[in-house]
């Protein structure tokens, strides 16, 4: 049985068309022109449990928008999707506990603090027991070989080390399925 089903999903944005110059800026205060951008146009997919799916496509193809829809960050314009039986944009607490999203360009770690402080914050947000948290942390820091870096401010870590820490931060809630 599919773990992710997407059926005719669409997402359109209304974008303000700002024109050049002071005169147009003033005119824009009372009358604005908008353009509709169709970021996702009726996609349908089925993903089976345990599959590794890569999204490929040029800039503006709708890859990240699709991931945002599946993680419930944004609402669709039309269509349906379920992940593990949940409708993502309903944002059920139970659903939010069960998946992880890592965005390469977004930093979820406090720059001036050691990564372990950010991990503690995640532990609190996700209400993870201390024993479960410690077990996950031990396992991941050992797997990624960063145990000796936990106390170092994030700004002093290399890019690769920071990426490992982001991965750990995203996994503290032990995403399932």
């Amino acid at each position: 049985m599919a773990i992710i089903t997407i059926d005719q999903l669409t997402k359109s944005y209304r974008v303000y068309q700002k024109k050049e110059g002071l005169r147009e800026a003033v005119r824009g205060l009372v009358s604005r022109e908008y353009k509709t951008v169709e970021a996702v146009r009726g996609i349908s997919l089925r993903v089976e449990p345990g599959e590794f799916i890569a999204f490929l496509g040029p800039n503006g193809a709708g890859k990240t928008t699709t991931l945002k829809l599946l993680s419930g960050v944004i609402y669709p314009t039309s269509g349906t999707a379920t992940v593990m039986g949940f409708v993502p944009w309903k944002r059920d607490l139970e659903y939010r506990r069960r998946f992880a999203l890592v965005m390469g360009q977004k930093n979820q770690l406090w720059w001036d603090l050691p990564a372990q402080e950010s991990f503690r914050l995640h532990q609190q947000i996700y209400c993870i027991s201390t024993s479960d948290y410690q077990r996950t942390l031990d396992e991941l820091t050992s797997l990624l070989d960063v145990r000796n870096l936990l106390g170092r401010p994030v700004r002093e870590l290399s890019l690769g080390e920071r990426m490992k820490m982001k991965l750990i931060a995203a996994s503290t809630n032990r995403p399932r399925a």
């Binding site: 773990i3 992710i4 669409t10 997402k11 169709e38 970021a39 996702v40 146009r41 009726g42 996609i43 349908s44 997919l45 993903v47 089976e48 449990p49 345990g50 599959e51 590794f52 799916i53 890569a54 999204f55 490929l56 496509g57 040029p58 503006g60 193809a61 709708g62 890859k63 990240t64 928008t65 699709t66 991931l67 599946l70 991941l140 797997l143 990624l144 890019l159 690769g160 990426m163 490992k164 991965l167 996994s171 995403p175 399932r176 399925a177």
Partner: protein, 84 residues
């Protein structure tokens, strides 16, 4: 990240997510074709292919979307050359 770093990092992600479902957006073709079970190719908000790496690689719509018609023309020219 460099290509080798990207490959290493994706391998790390695989290690951390063993047995779990994983969706990734990746532009490094080596990583995509070497590690993914399936590839979804999107162009202008539509999925033009969703299949195994081998099938996606051979898909004319994907080739056209990424390489224009150049590859198709080369293949046609090559086929005609073999015909003579």
């Amino acid at each position: 990240m460099s290509k080798s770093e990207t490959r290493r990092f994706v391998n790390l992600i695989r290690d951390v997510t063993v047995g779990r479902t994983l969706l990734t957006v990746e532009h490094d073709m080596g990583v995509v074709f070497g590690l993914a079970d399936k590839i979804a190719v999107l162009v202008y908000g539509e999925v033009i292919a969703f299949d195994t790496p081998e099938a996606v690689r051979a898909n004319p719509r994907v080739q056209e979307a990424y390489l224009g018609s150049v590859l198709a023309e080369q293949q046609a020219a090559s086929a005609m050359g073999q015909g003579h």
